[in-house]
């Protein structure tokens, strides 16, 4: 459609627009690139040089060796992997059930159930009653405290349900004639068609578990159950690297921080490009209104 002639004003706009977008991307990505370079540098060289960096100075992977030798990071990583896999499995199965049921025409009490789940987006018991609930269920200091309370996210149900509503009914009816039940229909017909929305759901839940720290902080006491983010908080924000390098002087501590950041964000950067193409198709406009 853009074969129309462009005025001078439009050309100037075009060039400045491209320039602006490129600058914006650089600002977005550079902090991570800086951290990567600094983590691979010699800590004293970084300190001496100062300012921005375009490549590592005095290439050195010593900080990574310290990170991987650190017991907290290893334990945290393993725990986080467990929370992500266990958590997402439960999230996705319940979200699929919820979205499937709430998108069927014959679902009894559908309006009531929709109201019941959407209301929780606007009002909730809040921090204290939730904490007391987890406590009275005997889940304090249990790994389940990080998995059960967030088992279904309403927003994700709505995204998936909207997607399922857009699937023509004829597919379900054809299957019913072949005497398929709802479980068959969900897993054999509806789920395979809904892959873009399910992928987006998996991504949201997985990133949520990967990045979560607050529930772990309030519910867990046992360090062996801590997720990675809780250890990261100690290292990055409370600036406690004592576990890692008692002997290290301050510049090395800086490098340990950078290496830790890289190690913690690599998995997300790695899966990201594979799921990225589902973003727009998986999250349709209709998803916002409900």
């Amino acid at each position: 459609m853009q074969n129309f002639k462009k005025s001078i004003g439009e050309k100037i706009f075009g060039v400045s627009n491209y320039t602006f977008l490129i600058l914006l991307s650089i600002i977005t990505i550079y902090p991570f690139y800086y951290v990567l370079c600094a983590s691979l540098s010699d800590s004293y060289a970084v300190l001496a040089k100062g300012g921005l960096m375009l490549y590592p100075v005095g290439f050195n992977v010593g900080a990574y060796a310290l990170v991987f030798l650190n017991n907290n990071i290893v334990v945290g990583y393993a725990n986080t992997l467990f929370y992500v896999f266990a958590g997402v499995s439960l999230n996705i199965i319940l979200t699929m059930f919820a979205a499937y049921c709430l998108s069927r025409r014959t679902m009894p009490f559908k309006r009531f159930f929709m109201l019941m789940i959407t209301f929780t987006m606007y009002f909730s018991g809040g921090l204290i009653p939730n904490y007391l609930l987890v406590k009275s269920l005997g889940l304090l200091n249990s790994r389940l405290a990080l998995i059960l309370p967030g088992a279904v996210a309403t927003w994700n149900v709505i995204i998936l349900r909207t997607y399922m509503l857009s699937i023509p009914n004829s597919m379900e009816e054809a299957a019913r004639i072949d005497s398929a039940n709802d479980l068959n229909i969900l897993f054999r017909i509806i789920a395979p068609i809904s892959i873009p929305a399910i992928a987006v759901n998996i991504l949201f839940y997985a990133v949520g578990h990967w990045n979560s720290w607050f529930p772990a902080m309030i519910y867990l006491q046992d360090k062996n159950k801590f997720p990675l983010q809780l250890f990261l908080r100690q290292i990055l924000i409370q600036a406690d690297v004592s576990d890692m390098a008692d002997y290290a002087t301050e510049p090395i501590a800086e490098n340990i921080k950078y290496a830790t950041i890289i190690v913690s964000i690599i998995p997300i950067l790695f899966v990201f490009p594979f799921l990225q193409r589902f973003f727009v198709t998986g999250m349709m406009v209709g998803a916002i209104k409900e």
Binding site: M1, V35, F97, L133, I237, F272
Partner: protein, 304 residues
């Protein structure tokens, strides 16, 4: 009547598998969402753990009175509103503007790359983001080194009242502006292209197309997101506030939600904290209700 009842029962029985599949979801919502809402009654009680929620004595509105009269009440209210209003003014419009700029890009590959890059920070944990802020903005961090080259004195970005709000909103903008565009971009792609062609034939320039076609086309999306945003007016950014908070900025950084955390979970003052939390939740809900009502009246777009 009897017949009707039988028919309904039959209908339920026919859909028993659907109901069975929904059952775990139903119980999840009851246990982890509705029981805590019921648990809010401790806001009106003097909760003692050994008496339980039901056994603790009622004290009416004492907790609320205590909160309204407390030394911190106005400061908390002000901090909460100020943070959110700055966020609303300086963050909320930006994804819309960026989406409009991206929409003008006709090279598909270029657009995809820019979009992908701009989504990345959204997926990085707040702990890491705040860790980066602490590192880059410390007194001898990279930002102070750079402004040092320009001859500006080092600033104490992290632990002063002055810089707290700009740091908070600025980093939110950096982290989320790209991701925020996604919903507007899908709204933009659903605008009928024939409208633009007709406008072109009528001699409309780019600016007129923007005003008469593009903006009206995404207006419902903007309104819905604005309603939802205002419905969380009092509670946005809790985890980030908690991570960025330190003794140097506590005067401006303490908001109602972090106060609830401190009073409730650190000082174990459950009833009082629940009352403060309930106050916060009610204000949120009233704001949501109000904006939704106004929107329904003036724009025909609303949540319900």
């Amino acid at each position: 009547m009897r017949k009707n009842f039988d028919a309904n029962l039959k209908e339920l029985f026919k859909n028993r598998l659907l109901l069975l599949m929904f059952a775990p979801v139903f119980f999840y919502y009851v246990i982890f969402n509705y029981i805590p809402m019921f648990g809010l009654i401790i806001a009106f009680k003097d909760f003692r753990p050994y008496l339980g929620i039901l056994g603790s004595p009622w004290i009416g509105f004492d907790n609320f009175r205590q909160f309204f009269k407390s030394f911190y009440f106005w400061a908390l209210l002000r901090n909460t509103f100020v943070l959110n209003i700055y966020d609303l003014i300086f963050y909320f419009p930006m994804p819309i503007i960026l989406a409009l700029l991206l929409n003008e890009v006709k090279r598909k590959r270029f657009k995809t790359i820019i979009q992908t890059v701009s989504y990345i920070p959204h997926f990085i944990s707040l702990v890491v983001i705040v860790g980066l802020i602490y590192d880059f903005f410390s007194t001898n961090g990279i930002i102070n080194q750079i402004i040092g080259f320009l001859g500006i004195e080092p600033q104490r970005f992290l632990n002063t009242n002055k810089w707290y709000i700009p740091m908070f909103v600025g980093s939110t903008l950096w982290q989320n502006v790209g991701w925020g565009t996604i919903i507007y971009i899908s709204a933009l792609t659903s605008i009928d292209h024939a409208l633009y062609e007709a406008a072109y034939i009528d001699g409309a320039g780019s600016f007129k197309k923007l005003i008469y076609i593009t903006l009206p086309g995404i207006a419902p999306t903007i309104i819905i997101l604005l309603i939802l945003r205002i419905g969380h007016m009092m509670s946005v950014g809790f985890e980030k506030v908690l991570l960025l908070q330190n003794p140097g900025n506590i005067e401006v950084s303490e908001v109602i939600s972090t106060y609830v955390y401190r009073k409730g979970l650190i000082e174990a003052n459950y009833s009082f904290a629940a009352a403060v939390g309930l106050f916060n939740g009610i204000i949120n809900f009233l704001l949501l209700y109000l904006v939704n009502m106004l929107s329904r009246k003036f724009s025909e777009t609303s949540l319900w």
